[in-house]
Symmetry: C2
Subunit: 238 residues, 2 copies
């Protein structure tokens, strides 16, 4: 039976901050823990969006490809979408207003939540992290210049999470969401949007199952600067 | 089949820091996730030590009682002990030396570990957090005065964890361990010890399954000061 109460996370954002971009879990294994989610690919090769059990990779060219099962993932969060979750219909709202409303209405602050929005966006603005080469730089360097993409009147799906700020470092604190359109040829990490009309469902998650790549030597040997990790995540991910 | 790779944690230390001492999970439910572990009881009523599937509560009087299944737990970490884990025999070492050796030898820094030590301690020094009354104070106030207990030439078991400092706030960063003697009449949160002769086993844990009491209103509404949580944990737990 599908566990509808857990977000499973492989890797941590602190690892990316430290430049650990090497994929450490095959997509096929990741997908045994959920059918929806977000993340990135080996070498920070684009933005990962998982919808209905299919994993789409939005690459720095803007191209979207369906990932092969053997693709290695350094960092991703997944869960099983609760198809029976209550939906709220929303019209004419931008990303800031919607974030504020979701967090307040559901009192999200201290708890894990999955968020899914399906609808028509009068505007959607994304960015995509560019693939890195070894020796990998730090995340703040890798994310300094990122291609941005925009479309108007686009229908598609947002998948994302609210994570309590207590878990900043393991994850992004607050809401972090990615977009994929219905045609599966446009998407990425969301910068901003204007939702024209859509259905929003949120799913409270009691558990964070944090998995670490315990057999990966660079991860085991990494010296992470925990004093700065929160600041660097906020610089790179927002 | 028992999952030997996961530490399951109910609640967070940040909740205790904020004074959320109310038990939120029955012991019987906690024990479906492991047969070994540490934690505290409702109202911060003593130190919890779980060994071989039995949960012992060391109370502020020094008395040790076996907990009843319906006791509510605000915070605990449990795992299934790997009885086949390799053991290292250690003689004449104090707690500081042993911590340093375990962390270095196993390169624990970035990973979750369970630690179990069975042996004879020429000296064991513990403390026990006193039970609190509502309205609960903050953890740093509750832990200001704590009864301490000492025994020489005592045989017993240490159960504890190494948690990466990235998870400070959710848990204690570094090693956190509790003791219970074989006679089950002495134990608590370890302050220091001298191990005369014992067997040490460590168990690498790939997963932290962090469970939150999502239906507990005080937790949902709590405003936690994340700027100070690390400092307050270090003040209260060390």
């Amino acid at each position: 039976m599908k566990d509808l109460t857990t977000v499973y996370q492989h890797g941590t954002l602190a690892m990316l901050v430290a430049g650990l971009f090497e994929g450490t879990m095959p997509l096929s294994e990741l997908l045994t823990h959920g059918d929806s989610g977000i993340g990135t690919a080996d070498s920070l090769d684009g933005e990962l969006v998982i919808v209905d059990g299919k994993a789409y990779q939005v690459r720095e060219s803007g191209e979207v490809v369906e990932m092969t099962p053997d693709t290695k993932i350094p960092f991703a969060s997944v869960h099983y979408d609760d198809v029976d979750a209550e939906q709220t219909h929303i019209e004419n709202m931008n990303d800031r207003q919607l974030q504020e409303r979701l967090i307040k209405d559901h009192n999200m602050f201290n708890v894990f939540y999955a968020i899914k929005i399906t609808g028509t966006f009068s505007h959607m603005h994304t960015r995509v992290v560019p693939r890195q080469e070894k020796p990998y730089p730090k995340l703040t360097v890798a994310t300094k210049v990122q291609p941005e993409f925009e479309q108007d009147q686009v229908h598609g799906t947002i998948v994302g999470y609210f994570m309590p700020y207590l878990f900043l470092g393991a994850a992004v604190g607050g809401i972090h969401w990615h977009f994929i359109n219905d045609a599966r040829d446009f998407g990425g990490h969301i910068l901003d949007f204007q939702l024209a009309s859509g259905d929003v469902s949120v799913q409270v998650l009691e558990n964070l199952n944090q998995h670490l790549p315990v057999n990966n030597t660079p991860f085991r040997d990494a010296q992470m600067n925990l004093q700065q990790v929160g600041d660097e995540i906020n610089e790179a991910e927002h």
